[in-house]
Symmetry: C2
């Protein structure tokens, strides 16, 4: 987990370096989208992202943001929450194991959680049916602490 003390620029620079390592390039658009994702810790919808990015790029269109998102996801810098049509920045470094995404149906917030115990029992269970885990995203609907209180 990246400490909160790291400021946005540092996070982005690190992302840029990790892309470069893999021969990919974090271009200006992609960097901007990643920055916006980081400013939305609970996740953001593609068209909200589009609206935001038009503040700096008036001509942005849906493909602009979907292409950037696809790239970021491919690079492991962001995740897609299918259930909610929501996108979130990855808050971990390189994933050694899949993350759990706790999606709160009340506030639409997303929490990313790494948990070795759950993941290992998951592997065992899947292996028994001949399946092989494919994506780093396991989506779970769960009421978050704030909404549980209310």
């Amino acid at each position: 987990m990246i400490p909160d003390s790291c400021d946005e620029t540092a996070v982005l620079d690190r992302a840029e370096a990790s892309c470069r390592q893999r021969g990919a390039s974090l271009t200006a658009i992609r960097r901007e989208v990643l920055a916006l994702l980081h400013r939305a810790p609970k996740g953001i919808k593609a068209y909200d992202l589009l609206e935001q990015i038009r503040h700096t790029r008036g001509n942005a269109s849906p493909p602009t943001v979907y292409r950037a998102l696809d790239f970021l996801i491919e690079q492991g810098l962001a995740h897609r929450i299918g259930r909610m049509n929501l996108f979130v920045a990855c808050r971990h470094g390189k994933h050694s194991a899949p993350s759990l995404f706790l999606v709160c149906p009340k506030c639409n917030g997303v929490t990313e959680l790494e948990d070795a115990a759950v993941v290992s029992s998951l592997y065992a269970s899947l292996a028994a049916t001949g399946h092989r885990l494919d994506s780093p995203e396991v989506e779970i609907s769960a009421i978050c602490p704030q909404c549980a209180a209310a």
Copy 2:
């Protein structure tokens, strides 16, 4: 798990009875939609369902199928796979615990799996962060045996 030997009519009749128990009614439209879901063991998309149901009800429109799906999901007779915009009939009776949905990204097939070990470690993990499990659906992307072989 409902044995395969049960034919469609029996499954539907049982569903109808269980709705009635709860004071809900499995109307003709809902029953037809449920039947179509059962004929698509790997899941089906809403608009494919719409096309199918127009064979018997020429005037069906998107709300027709979405309303039926909402009802079936509410009654625990079907599940929605958010990641794929896919709907599947529930292949279990009343759920005592959440199911795992293994979604194969190659063939778009969905397998429903109940696994106590995974679910209990999930509960423990969520409780530690103050979350409370909310839905009976945990979506996991996993290559299915057939696609793994190919």
